[in-house]
């Protein structure tokens, strides 16, 4: 492995000033489950690793009934799903947290690291999109926000400037009659990269039949995770029956533009996009009804 320096700053400002000095030669370390492997395999060239896990803002996990969820970029999956209240309020995120890697990975890997790695197949990103998460980004010029669906710009690429870092995610409190789900297809039952991933959320009218608001997102079917607005459009204001779900699934298939690689063929991935959309919506509805 190439040589690099390691620093573990205790404050956000310290981290920002390190990034200012090193720019693209520096990288924030969260769980390290992608970053360390990439550096080791010569897929990323660095001079400095900045460990984010000593910075309070990056490790915050809190919920407020007014402002909703604050999820620090470096919070490991395990802290999310072991928080009984938060994990119940954001079921799609909880699904993703429980799916990423195995136990050892979940004890290290974070939503923030997963997003900044910007893999098209990342498990947490479609879930974050389904939950309408917004990123808080810090840089020398202060902070700004970006919706998760606008964060990734290509495989391994995103909107973060060389001197910026992701601080946290912010998600509004779930509305009434809300349900969400994330699922993916993998050939094994764990320890795989998604062939296709799908997140969905539904806010139902009080009749629990009519869709008030819907979001459908897909992973591993395009250069970036997708928010499939066309699928939501097939659902919103309509009764959520088999026909509507099938239309949404068709919209998801139409939106998918995957490649063929070792994890699946183009044809198979398009097929799965439809299957998973249907299953994600059905489970989301079930959860909306339970709530």
């Amino acid at each position: 492995m190439q040589a690099f320096d390691y620093v573990a700053p205790k404050s956000l400002s310290e981290a920002v000033s390190l990034l200012e000095q090193k720019g693209e030669r520096a990288r924030i370390l969260s769980g390290g489950t992608d970053l360390i492997v990439q550096v080791r395999e010569n897929r990323r060239d660095l001079d400095l690793i900045v460990d984010g896990k000593k910075i309070a803002e990056l490790m915050e996990l809190s919920f407020d009934s007014q402002s909703g969820l604050t999820l620090g970029a470096c919070v490991p999956c395990v802290r999310f799903y072991e928080d009984a209240r938060i994990s119940q309020l954001y079921p799609g995120l909880n699904d993703a947290a429980l799916l990423i890697g195995g136990t050892q990975i979940q004890n290290r890997a974070s939503f923030g690291g997963n997003l900044c790695n910007s893999s098209p197949a990342a498990d947490s990103i479609p879930a974050l999109i389904a939950h309408s998460a917004v990123c808080l980004i810090a840089g020398s010029g202060g902070t700004h926000t970006v919706a998760v669906e606008d964060f990734c710009t290509g495989p391994g690429r995103n909107v973060l400037g060389p001197k910026e870092l992701l601080v946290s995610f912010h998600i509004p409190p779930p509305p009434k009659h809300f349900g969400a789900h994330y699922l993916r297809f993998i050939p094994r039952n764990e320890m795989d990269i998604a062939v296709v991933g799908c997140g969905a959320s539904l806010e139902m009218e009080s009749d629990l039949r009519t869709v008030k608001k819907a979001r459908v997102s897909l992973g591993a079917v395009a250069p970036t995770p997708l928010l499939v607005a066309e699928a939501a459009a097939e659902l919103e204001g309509r009764e959520l029956d088999g026909g509507a779900i099938e239309k949404a699934a068709a919209a998801a298939r139409a939106a998918a533009r995957p490649i063929t690689d070792m994890r699946g063929t183009e044809e198979y991935r398009v097929h799965l996009a439809g299957v998973l959309t249907r299953r994600a919506l059905e489970k989301s509805l079930e959860r909306a009804k339970e709530e």
């Binding site: 492995m1 050939p187 094994r188 039952n189 764990e190 990269i193 070792m262 994890r263 063929t265």
Partner: protein, 764 residues
Amino acid sequence: MNPTQTMDPAKTEVEQKYKVIGTRPIRHDGVDKVTGRAVYGADVQLPGMLHGKVLRSPHAHARVKSVNTEKAEALYGVKAVMTAADFPDAGSRTANLGELGEVPLKPMCDNVMASDKVVYHGHAVAAVAATSPHIAEEALKLIEVEYEVLPPVMDVLKAMEEDSPLLHDDLYTDELGEKSSKPSNVASHSRHVLGDINQGFAAADHILEREYRCATVHQGYIEPHAATAMWNPDGYLTMWVTTQGAFTVRTSVHQILEIPVSKLKVIPTEIGGGFGGKIPVYGEPVAAVLSRKARRPVKVVMDRTEVFQATGPTSGSYVKLKMGVTNEGRITAAETMLAYEAGGYPGSVVSLGGICMFAPYNVENLTIDMYDVVVNKPKTAAYRAPGAPNSEFAAECMIDEFCEILDMDPMEFRLKNGAKEGDIQCHGIPHPRIGCLETTEAARDCEHYQTPLEGPNRGRGVASGYWVNAGLTSSVTARLNGDGTVTLQEGSTDIGGTRTSIAMQLAEVLGIPVEDVVPSVADTDSVGYTEVTGGSRVTFATGWAAYNAGQSIRSQLIEQAAAIWKVDKDQVSLADGVIATTNGDSKSISIKELAADLSQKGIDIGSRETVTPQNHGGAYATHIVDVEVDPDTGKVTILRYTAVQDAGRAIHPSYVEGQMQGGVVQGIGWALNEEYYYNEDGHLMNSSFLDYRMPTSLDLPMIETIIVEVPNPGHPYGVRGVGEVPIVPPQAAVSNAIARAVGTRLGDLPMSPQRVVKALSAKS
């Protein structure tokens, strides 16, 4: 969870007959292995030791024009750099592979490090020794290699085409001594014929003809290859190696480096899995040369990517099969063509595939054509029952298809056609006493098979399997200690508890507790020649050597006691660890007491035994699997699995069960998800445990086992090898179960979810 069971009609007799055999003692090396103290290949640490790393080809097929190592040599911390030019010229020298005869040495050398040509992605071209592994890696980046890239040949059938690019200009097809007129990727063609194939097909009521393919799969041992070499200035080379055969490493390194065997000691470390893949040498000669050049010990440890790119795998294969059966379900004829990928150099296991393919059945009219074909993939190595799963998958799938056509129970079909003692095998040799029918009967009668499977998209599959097993040479040295315990040095590296299964056989002879035998795996200077841990042979052959050692010690003790008591040795016996007279004068002495006495007198009791037994008998298995198929995603879930197998005699039943369960799970991985994925340039794309998908604990149910014991008359305790045959039936059993679940037959492995979906959509 379902309990494991042992079905043995002769169990009560066995229990009376044996004190140690059939029990489940804790293995002797167990504490070392559960405490992290056992020393595996990469755990070796020597004073002043350097770390070696290997530069590998980014191309699947290329001529090596030049290698410039100057910059690497200049890097701070680098102590030696080597290329193939540092090996003695292989020229026309040959390597003696024992029963396989003499083979040219050059391909073996070139596979360790390419001289003029790289023939697979990941092929070694140079190596560096440095003070840290990181510096060695940095130095690799400084080595400049100029390649002339050539078109890769990645598929066995494409490689056989007339106009295919050639891997080796000097390779001609050998047909038992007759060479082809022009160079070819087909290294050899061989054939077995029995009876009259045309008459056989004429007698058939149903004939099927199908093609079957197996992807390239890897052994997948968790411990990467590791070798440490210390070459002293006096010319003596000591190596610490994780290997299935210390003597095989000694021979290979001796041949490649032309170092005398007498100056080469191989110390086998603990080995973290092998399954056939740790028989060839890779980093061993490299570590040795680096050590000689750097004048320091050098350790070469592969990473996982290197393991996938450059070691193992087993052959990808194409099988064309035509069979005929009568309306009564009797096989009348089988005609098959097997083409196996050898990898970059000749030498696949296609001949074993041929021998095993129909061995569970008595087929009188048979033609088997076997082709060994080079492609731009790593040189293949043995993998658990090497060659057998590829061919038997085809036969077992087709038999199930016949059963469906005939509406015949698959167990009934197997019992009707099953092989038995005296039936002629494809190569003309009759079967010895085998447990084929007994195994099938036990499978038919077991609770799993007798319980109906219900539910949509569910199906039950059955398949049988055969593996030849092996005898070969094994040695032990046993010595009685003054406290009555026995120190047992044996030559077989222990991959799965064989120290104990060997020691149990010695303990049984002497009637002492197995805890009183202290087994260890010896280095090549400390025990007689011993062939590899492979071919399911260790408990059979090395166990036999231990049995002989026990018999020898027993005779010596009897003689010594007879001398003390001044009686004829015929009037002295040994049982349950006690030596006693049989002439009625009631003299007796325990082994412990006698050992103490003899030790006091300076009398050494011990034995050195080497055996090369042949009557290893074959191993049979029949497996039953229940699956559920998700028709939307094509994913196959294993609901229940039972493996039934003839073990001859289960010396340590827990480890027999373990072999069965482990083999089954490797077979399930092979069936469902494992495959080498190459891109069009011949680059291996999934050389990690993330994307080479071996089963995890979450993908499986408990694996139920039924041990059948049809003692092998060729072994003093009736042992048959057990390790390999359990990997043979699962692929076909799963395919047959999928067919019964959703009505579509898959003949290409792996039966990955996307293949299942594709087959289902083709059907509808």
